[in-house]
Symmetry: C2
DNA sequence: GAGGACATGTAATGTGTTACATGATTAA
DNA sequence: TTAATCATGTAACACATTACATGTCCTC
């Protein structure tokens, strides 16, 4: 009867495997590590940690703050570590990710090609920005204390981002050229 | 107060812009057109159509079935068409799509490299299959009655899939090689 | 004294899938 | 007769974000 699908609680376990953290810390760490392919809101994190504690997968230690609020620092228990390993072994649940850009582009014939062009242009800029961020992230990895054993895995995820963004940049350029062509012929044929 | 974000009702409007359809039809059409980047379940479609009708964006016509159940066929009203155009002009809401494969890969140091390798291998096969499907889809487009004006937009969405899948195939191959290297050194160093 | 970072948490709301319920027709 | 396809719809549940509520300390 146990649903093993839930990626969110397992993501929390994974993050706590890096080091003991509070809910607040987790949010920070996400944004500077896996933020480009995973995110969690406080509304998921705090109740999630509470549930994991009730299941004995993490343990809480309240740290009296010196000049700051109390922190609830959670760490993985042996059970939690085992649970994480089991989840990692399960096949990846594949979903079709929704792509609103493609949806709008698909129905682009209803509006001026200019509209689609701007959507693609915005996406292009975003991809270029992402490529820049991946560079920063890599620098951060090399400097900061990422365990030797974890480093190649970080790099693999970064590399997917790079391959993806580079391909998207190419597609954007081709698509913008195509949209420009459509606009020119629309104007020329008038 | 109106939330304009809702992509799902707008997706329904877009699909009905192709031709009048029943909720059942919509599901079929999705799977043979935009299914690789968008999907809707009946639980969204039927209540969604009802709501759109109440707002006057679509109109319902019940067609008595000859040897099959009655069909509720919906068509776009002028208001619906206008609403669709307005939505198409709004900037694309950008979200970070979650990627469970990357999440598992990121924490791959906790399990044998073999486990990650198999996840990537499965993803590789899926991408290759996708590339094949895009070919089929394109053939279908050329044969069937897709309006001339809509065709280039279909092709643009297909091309994004192609660029993406091709990049992913390359990444998978590189990543599998890297994982093999890790496994060899782990074995060699023992 | 205003604003921002630190810190925790809940409630309301939105979004979406899955399973269920129903029932006819058609092909194996 | 059994399964698949056609067809519509609801209810329960799962998942997630946002806004709100609260309060401290530190810097400008």
């Amino acid at each position: 009867m146990k649903m093993e699908g839930g990626a969110t609680p397992n993501a929390l376990l994974g993050l706590l495997s890096l080091r003991p953290m509070s809910g607040y810390d987790i949010r920070q760490v996400i944004s500077e590590s896996i933020g480009y392919f995973w995110s969690e809101s406080y509304g998921q994190i705090y109740p999630g940690l509470k549930r994991l504690e009730a299941e004995g997968l993490v343990s809480k230690k309240t740290v009296r703050g010196k000049g700051s609020p109390d922190r609830n620092v959670y760490s993985l228990t042996e059970d939690g570590r085992r649970k994480l390993r089991e989840w990692l072994k399960l096949p990846v649940a594949e979903v079709v990710p929704r792509n609103e850009l493609l949806l709008k582009l698909f129905f682009g014939a209803h509006v001026s090609p200019n509209v689609s062009r701007e959507h693609v242009q915005a996406f292009l800029e975003r991809c270029q920005e992402d490529l820049r961020v991946y560079g920063e992230l890599e620098k951060g990895l090399r400097k900061k204390g990422v365990p030797e054993s974890q480093l190649p895995f970080c790099m693999m995820t970064l590399n997917m981002g790079r391959h993806r963004s580079a391909a998207m940049v190419k597609w954007c350029e081709e698509t913008i050229a195509e949209l420009d062509k459509i606009e020119r012929t629309a104007k020329g044929g008038k």
